[in-house]
Symmetry: C2
Subunit: 319 residues, 2 copies
């Protein structure tokens, strides 16, 4: 059986049989605290849009890792970069490295080192170490919890889709929707605040539908989403219409939004909504279904969807 | 200016101007201890011999990182794997992951997680987190120190050279010299013991000559090596003769030996030689030369040499 017949999620399921993995980041006790550890690789062909500048690529490798640390409600501390590329100019390389450093500094993280290699295609591997007094897991959602999210959805996925269709088109980039695809921001500050109030949390960079399922399955509960509560920015909505794209599909199954999905009890939600901009999109249910309810009250099953490596092209196109 | 015109070492020199890097691994204070952090990438085309099994590849990505932790005299704690490959069978993938886990366990390290990606060529990025009460740096060699090493040299580099010339030749692999090229072992236990006695330390996986220079330049001293003291195993010596290879060049400039090079005062060296198998190969001098002395007492300059990424093919061939 080849990896492509299995898909990333099932690979992880299989690995879980002999490895102790399965949250946004790993955690190990260290004295009276926890070290939070995560690594994420980005590869030219699958993760880097042609329109991205060297600066944006540098930011991205930090962001994807910061988002995993944020999802654990942890404070990022130190970053390491594994760098592989074909022969490029030293100026472009420095621009990338300086962007890595700047993005680290913006989130109070030390860029402590790395490794450089010659590879055929640009391949960046980032590792982030964070600390937490009590990491927030996916597995603690409780029946009756509110399901909420830190920002509007669908823009990164929609922006990516249009940029991929259009190749390099600088005029297009003026629409701020594209900025969410090219320069996503991790919710580090929000994750730290939320960590004191939420029961479970994950980032949704692989897609909302997958992340909902991750929380539901890890916590052994169901989740019901009210589709008309999913926050979608007007500019995103309009751009989708202009381009004949179904924005709801992007919001549910699209990847690249580095928002945090969390479950929280009602009392804490009232506290949090006064501190952060958060959106209630559903609730945790006792029955183990992952369901959506549309504006007319019609219930339907939310498919897994979302992006997975080692899946056939056809399945990727769904997102 | 392209990266290939600069070379990995000078890239690191340039990066040092705005990044705080430069030892085998980074270290950050964490309460009363130090976290030791390192990341190393291995890439099919440049690091993986055709004769390597999936199991050996899995061991190698852990070993290269363990060796950096060992060189800091630190205790390894947790390992993360960034995995990228073309579509391979799930069985081969599992063999590799299980070997990663096994190699971690052999050195009391927890394999805590990772990331899988689809890439054209096998690309593995490992990150190791260790702890230390006082990391051993390259920069503390003192004039008068003995320069010593934890094992015999040249075998990994010689073995690699012959295996690359011969393609896949299973009969050859019976000679144990090849095992050092295919299955190098990190000196974790030795590093931990040495940390209590040495003044400076580094691993020599990039070549002895580079490592000597790293210690000398970081410590602002010179080093004199007695060539006939460099330990070379008889089997390595004989294999070199059979293959018309200059074993001294492999020992001085070849990469892939995961031994530790350290400087230590005479008193501590006497203690250490009763605990570990170590070899005195030279001494730290006040004048800032990196010199060799041959058996006839003739002095000569030891060139930089060793392996660097982003260098022209010609320069690599020197090793």
């Amino acid at each position: 059986m080849m990896l492509s017949e299995i898909g990333e999620r099932r690979i992880i399921e299989e690995l879980k049989k002999f490895l102790d993995i399965g949250d946004d980041a790993a955690y190990i006790r260290f004295g009276y605290k926890y070290l939070i550890l995560t690594t994420d690789m980005i590869y030219q062909e699958t993760h880097i849009l042609k329109q991205m500048t060297w600066e944006q690529i540098g930011m991205l490798i930090v962001t994807v890792n910061l988002s995993d640390i944020a999802a654990m409600g942890a404070k990022p501390v130190a970053f390491l970069l594994g760098y592989g590329s074909p022969d490029i100019s030293f100026d472009n390389f420095k621009t990338l490295i300086k962007a890595v450093k700047k993005q680290c500094e913006r989130f109070d993280t030390k860029f402590v080192g790395g490794d450089t290699n010659q590879t055929e295609k640009l391949t960046l591997s980032g590792t982030l170490i964070g600390i937490s007094e009590k990491p927030v897991l996916r597995s603690n959602a409780r029946v009756g919890d509110i399901v909420a999210i830190t920002g509007d959805l669908g823009s990164a996925s929609l922006g990516t889709r249009i940029l991929m269709k259009d190749g390099v088109n600088k005029k297009k980039l003026k629409n701020p929707v594209f900025k969410k695809a090219l320069e996503p921001e991790p919710r580090v500050k929000e994750g730290l605040i939320l960590s004191k109030y939420v029961n479970s949390m994950t980032d949704i960079s692989d897609g909302l539908s997958i992340s909902i399922r991750d929380i539901a399955e890890s916590s052994n509960v169901g989740i019901e989403i009210e589709l008309d509560k999913i926050p979608i920015d007007d500019r995103t909505f309009n751009l989708a219409i202009e381009n004949g794209e179904d924005i709801m599909k992007h919001a549910l199954y699209g990847e690249g939004d580095y928002e945090l999905l969390f479950t929280i009890n009602k009392k804490n939600f009232e506290i949090i909504r006064n501190i952060l901009s958060v959106y209630k999109i559903g609730r945790v249910t006792k029955n183990k279904e992952i369901a959506g309810v549309d504006s007319k009250g019609v219930r339907f099953r939310i498919e897994r969807g979302g992006y997975e490596h080692f899946k056939s092209k056809h399945q990727k196109e769904k997102a």
